[in-house]
Amino acid sequence: MTINKDVNGKALTISLEGRLDTTTAPGLEEEINGSLENIEELTFDFAKLEYISSAGLRVLLSAQKKMNKQGKMVVKNVSEEVSEIFEVTGFSDILTIE
């Protein structure tokens, strides 16, 4: 999986390409933890995300909890497959999806 980060002032956009699973989730978590300082708006661009597993969902949930304290988090360009997983696991209720 490829992780692209774009910081613009207090806004951070993370674009993911490939599969967010057990293998790649720890790398994303590390990236997020190292980049959230002074960030008030976190955006995930899932346009090229092919798959998300429970390990990836845990990282998203953890990021959402952190951003609740310091700003907001938005997920955009969610594919049909990923959207279905969000529905089943109740993520559609807690995430701001655009």
Binding site: T22, G27, S53, R58, L61, K65, I85, V88, F91
Partner: protein, 291 residues
């Protein structure tokens, strides 16, 4: 599991290998010089400690680089793999010694250079004493299982060296008697029995540890779903770790709660989360760790 833990393991394994190599060399020289069964057995015992040490060195280096293993492989798995290799090597070595010992009982042959073997073994004993002391210090500083295992190995090796030296002294004192040719093989066979039983226990526990699996993806999604149901009840989500052994399922969830919450509120929420996970994935043991 942080990279620091693997780095520490890597350093400890390197220390273990470096400390053990002199013991392997001295016991090998002593075995070659004496052709004594008990000294060969000690050499095999030494190698059985160095071999898994090298394996641990390689595995911990790999784990520091490879995230795939880093995410789901805990310290228990590494120790289990190392222990399994160690015990299989020990069993194979003891099997060889048993065969040689039985052969020597059938075709008894004289042992030579026992004095030289005794001197070299005494040097080995000094090295073992030094290792035992250093590993005891490490155990006081670090309470990880791997350090404890290394300390136990050092103790075992020290006791074994003592028995070897005792056997060699008996061999030197009674070298003119007829029965002495049978002494070393018989001591070997007697020692093989308790060692094999102990190895059997360790091997069985290592296998149990290795057959532990992570919960299937569907169940893990259900755990995430339940955590979302209680989204407003906790502040932060930490690790979610799970393992399955036969029909036994164990799930560890790390959660941070709001500092204003009372103990009773946290306990009630934890109980509800456990109950819901139980309803979703069936009978399981859920531990909520507060971070």
């Amino acid at each position: 599991m942080s990279k620091d833990v693997f780095l520490r393991q890597h350093k400890l394994a390197l220390l273990l290998v470096l400390w053990r190599i002199p013991g392997v060399i001295t016991s090998f020289l002593a075995a070659i010089a004496s052709n004594s069964m008990i000294v060969w057995m000690e050499f095999i015992e030494n190698v059985s400690i160095v071999a898994p040490g090298i394996l641990l060195l390689i595995i911990s280096a790999k784990l520091m680089k490879n995230l795939k293993f880093m995410f789901n492989y805990g310290i228990g798995k590494i120790e289990a793999i190392t222990a399994q290799t160690c015990e299989i090597f020990d069993l194979a070595g003891l099997g060889c010694v048993l065969l040689f010992a039985v052969r020597k009982l059938i075709y008894p042959g004289g042992e030579r250079n026992l004095e030289l073997a005794l001197i070299i073994s005494a040097v080995g004993l000094l090295i073992d004493l030094f290792i035992l002391y250093r590993e005891k210090l490490l155990t006081e500083k670090d309470h990880s299982r791997i350090v404890h295992t290394a300390f136990l190995s050092a103790k075992k090796e020290f006791v074994f060296d003592f028995i070897t030296i005792f056997t060699l002294i008996i061999g030197i004192i009674f070298h003119n008697t007829k029965w002495i040719v049978y002494f070393s093989p018989i001591v070997c066979i007697i020692l093989i029995v308790p060692f094999s039983i102990e190895i059997g226990h360790h091997l069985s526990s290592a296998v149990q540890e290795l057959i532990d699996l992570t919960l299937d993806e569907e169940s893990q999604l259900l755990i995430i779903k339940v955590l979302n149901e209680f989204y407003d009840s906790y502040e932060l989500l930490g690790d979610i770790k799970s393992r399955v052994n036969g029909s036994y399922k164990n799930i560890d969830i790390s959660l941070q709660f709001h500092p204003d919450m009372t103990y009773k509120e946290i306990r009630d929420i934890s109980t509800k989360i456990k109950k819901r996970i139980d309803e979703e994935i069936g009978k399981c043991n859920v531990n909520i760790n507060i971070i």
